[in-house]
């Protein structure tokens, strides 16, 4: 039941729990209990909304920053990652295999705000060796959802 609930709410976190119970053939109370349990266990970490800010009047700038760091004795990358993720403007922090160590996803109001963050807060950390900032120009798809939807003519073009 767990996997089935998750695969549905991963795409639609606003689904009515009664409806979820009906389509999965379960009791509503069992669904509610299972969801609460998963929240407690940290399997379900939040219910966010995917927003295409481009379509609003709010100015936002997103960037992905590659960060190379010196791992610390006894902590590896964890303590430096924690110092970075505590900044509220940081959206996500991943430890990455390959050419650099941490990938930091950041959101700011303007280019300047993002570059200030990098120069004042990120690159000044002791263990940070270098950064490379990539500004996001356009989001085509996010969280499995296509943002840049094209108009399609739904009329069928062939004879069935």
């Amino acid at each position: 039941m767990r996997e089935k609930i998750l695969s549905i709410i991963e795409k639609n976190s606003r689904i009515d729990l009664r409806e979820l119970a009906i389509i999965l053939g379960e009791e509503e109370t069992d669904i509610v209990n299972e969801m609460e349990q998963m929240e407690k266990e940290g399997v379900i970490c939040g219910y966010h909304t995917l927003i295409d800010w481009e379509k609003t009047n709010v100015e936002k700038v997103s960037a992905l920053i590659e960060v190379r760091v010196t791992p610390q004795r006894g902590h590896g990358f964890d303590s430096i990652a924690e110092r970075i993720y505590k900044y509220p403007e940081v959206h996500a922090v991943y430890l990455i295999s390959g050419g650099y160590d941490l990938l930091v996803s950041l959101e700011g109001k303007s280019l300047k705000e993002v570059s200030n963050f990098v120069s004042d807060k990120l690159s000044t950390l002791d263990t940070v060796l270098s950064t490379a900032t990539h500004f996001i120009l356009k989001k085509y798809k996010d969280h499995g959802t296509i943002l840049d939807k094209k108009e399609v003519d739904e009329r069928i073009q062939v004879t069935p």
Binding site: E19, I22, I23, L24, G25, V158, P160
Partner: protein, 298 residues
Amino acid sequence: MLVTVGGSEAIDIALRAMVDPGDEVLIPQPSYVSYEPCAVLAGAKPVIIELKHENQFRLTAQELEDAITDKTKILILPFPNNPTGAIMERKDLEAIAEVILKHDLFVLSDEIYAELCYTEKHVSIVNIDGMRERTILINGFSKSHAMTGWRLGYACGPKEIIEQMYKIHQFCIMCAPTTSQYAAIDALKNGDEDVQMMREAYNQRRRYLVHAFQEMKLECFEPFGAFYIFPCIREFGLTSDEFATRFLNEEKVAVVPGTAFGDCGEGFIRISYAYSLEKLKIAMEKLEHFINRLRAEK
């Protein structure tokens, strides 16, 4: 085995290969629209067996026995069923097989919805002792893999019959589209997970519809296979045709009148849940409006 242009071709050429003029072909109804005309075109006499709501639209040994004459040659076995969603379990098939063997008949088993069984795994009649030698099994990619437009199906059966079908196949259309055959090979190699995913999605919609009809107090037997549901609309005092036509005109939703699948489909409509849950929800809202209006009219 013979690869055909959809299950449709397999049904047609199997009948043409097997029947002689005047042979009787037993066709349980409600069922898919092509069996009866194909039997007629092949020169056979279609004999209809009316499946009963109270038997969950399964074929019983008694119904079969009652329809058999000394002209009977083939039974068409259409399960999981379009339009009712009925299935036949092993015990049901064993009872049928006994009658088939007793009267030395053939079976044309249209199992195109075999992958779409929701309560238990599909059992084919060829798995019952003595039936493999006298069964033409039909399947295809239209339903299991949602590849309807690729036009690919197949028939399996005794060599003597398949050879005759092959002749007709060669003269009529040469071969099933090879592009589709390559696609189908890939579907068979790599598509199991997708089939599983689709089955789960259909099952969710099936449960949703069964529940929606209960809420509307619309009499409906629970379908266990295929992707159709077949509610009864007798309470409204309209024919299936009138119901479907008014529903289309007044709410802009298309359903198929039960009579499309045989006269005994009168009093039922067929709803397909191959569409998305979102669209089905809209359709159910409209259906509820519609039947509330009909109930108020009475």
